[in-house]
Subunit: 328 residues, 2 copies
């Protein structure tokens, strides 16, 4: 029997986890929990249950790790402390500023229940954070850069959709190539918001909407667009569906730093991701950390953890011996 | 008082560690141990001792972590098990095929003495290994690629120097750009040795040596050059000193893999290093793991570890709280 996984929330992330379980022979999907009527939710995995979130407690002894697929704004701050009272849990909480508070809440609940909760798992926070930490520990005298994209920003796409006259929209965040190159060359540039990323918008107008007015409203929108060089393309609904229905993303974490008695040598450490599907990649990271949670719990550990606290070997299905032989 | 570091062996690596200690305020250099006459070895750090390796045992209680800077061929297989009987130790053992045996020897000795030994630390093995592991755990259905360079290969430079008629030489290993691009594009190519790297040699001839014969001998040398496209440049001793006295290196670890119910989405994870000084960067990694060894020992742990077994947070001078706030 494999590690029994529960999925709470069956959207893009939940479906991604279901697909990832199929690729990991030591895992099995036990049940999907939904706030919808379970009879209306059909999943891909034969033999796995679909249940109401209200029945989760009945699964306490039948699930090894529950992966929480809710949103960071309102779901996870409630759900993670709640579910860690019953299960080992993983979440992808990504509101950077509220991580300390979320950590404290999950840690308190997990220590009471004796379970493990790993929070803020994914790629940023997650793999990008790990790479910032490793690079900072190795090169204390240096400078960090994070670039995102090319990829779809859900928040920015939503912001455009709220503009009057817009029927639908998709927004891509794109790193500025010349700035990336300057960083890679170890030039340590100070970059403004505008110098780091551009924003490209594909917009479907409502019938009769004023294109010039919509474009102006998007480009001057504070926080979202006004600090960026923004391009707006008006396209048809069919074009949007045909050319922009994917959810790609990615980015770059770069640290350049100096070593030597007088800082005479420069080094550049770069980590990058190019992802066809942001939610499926995030799901794959979540599942690897579910394996770690299972093992930590089996060792009798409890409390809240982040990717910083987990030794890499816990993520792999391979034994320490195999890893040393094949990957070291 | 900081973490008291000992350096065993004062070559490029040992000097790199001395420089790295200067960048880490929680560390201090206690002593350098040398097989030479200590009076002939002058170091950069005021107040640190220079001692004979024969006197190391007297420092048992005055050094928290001893960093072993010997070579993998003959030094470390002896030294690491020997010194872990007295000290927490770090080494950069890089003979991949012999890692399992080395691990077993160090583990047995460390468990007897109650010390921690972290082996095979650096960038390959080391940071590259970590990135192979993380990427494999996240994308189980995928393919790994490691490219080295552009950088100086000491082994290949030495091989050229053994050719009759060669006075001095430097060899650069260079990744083939078109292969790198194919991997980055997710094409999953099967690459031969020749398709992955080229070799560029800068050779100073002895007076009266036959250049054509030397070039032929280099290019056809089995294991070292015969499977590669090799370029040989003959230059003067002055040019070699002026243009090729650095020890740059680096490389790329890339994994491309698929997710989705039918593998419909592709992802590329890439980690790369561009290093002005191979030994100084390696030293910086060793020192970060010395911090980890100190902390593991303080927790009462003992035995052999590799980078796979160490939670990232142990490498950083920052607290868990600071790390979550600043880097997650």
């Amino acid at each position: 029997m494999g590690i029994r996984i529960g999925i709470l929330g069956y959207g893009n992330l939940g479906r991604g986890i279901e697909c990832a379980i199929k690729q990991n022979p030591d895992m099995e999907l036990a049940a999907v929990f939904t706030r919808r009527n379970p009879e209306t939710v059909s999943i891909l995995t034969e033999g796995a249950a679909v249940c109401s979130v209200a029945d989760a407690e009945q699964w306490k002894d039948k699930i090894d790790v529950m992966i929480l697929c809710g949103g960071s704004a309102t779901d996870l701050p409630e759900q993670t402390p709640e579910y860690v009272r019953m299960f080992n849990v993983i979440d992808s909480f990504d509101t950077h500023a509220r991580i300390p508070e979320h950590f404290a809440n999950v840690d308190a609940a997990a220590k009471e229940s004796g379970k493990v909760g790993i929070i803020s798992v994914g790629w940023d926070p997650g793999m990008f954070s790990l790479n910032r930490l490793y690079a900072n520990a190795i090169l204390p005298d240096g400078k960090d850069y994070t670039f995102w994209g090319k990829g779809v920003s859900q928040g920015h796409s939503d912001a455009i959709r709220r503009v009057a006259g817009v029927k639908d929209a998709k927004q891509y965040t794109i790193p500025v190539e010349s700035s990336l190159e300057a960083v890679r060359n170890g030039e340590n540039p100070d970059l403004t918001t505008r110098q780091k990323h551009t924003r490209e918008c594909f917009v479907v107008l409502e019938e009769g909407a004023d294109a010039a007015k919509v474009e102006e409203e998007i480009k001057t929108m504070p926080n979202y667009f006004s600090d960026y060089d923004t391009t707006v393309h008006f396209i048809s609904e069919e074009e949007l569906k045909r050319d922009h229905s994917g959810i790609p993303h990615g980015g770059f974490v770069i640290r350049s730093g100096k070593t030597g008695w007088n800082g005479e040598n420069s080094h550049v450490i770069e980590y990058s991701l190019k992802l066809d599907s942001n939610p499926e990649f995030t799901s794959s990271v979540l599942l690897a950390y579910a394996r770690a949670a299972y093992r930590l719990a089996a060792e009798g550990q409890c409390g809240c953890r982040t990717v910083f606290d987990i030794a890499p070997a816990y993520l792999s299905a391979k034994s320490g011996e195999e890893l040393r032989k094949m990957m070291l």
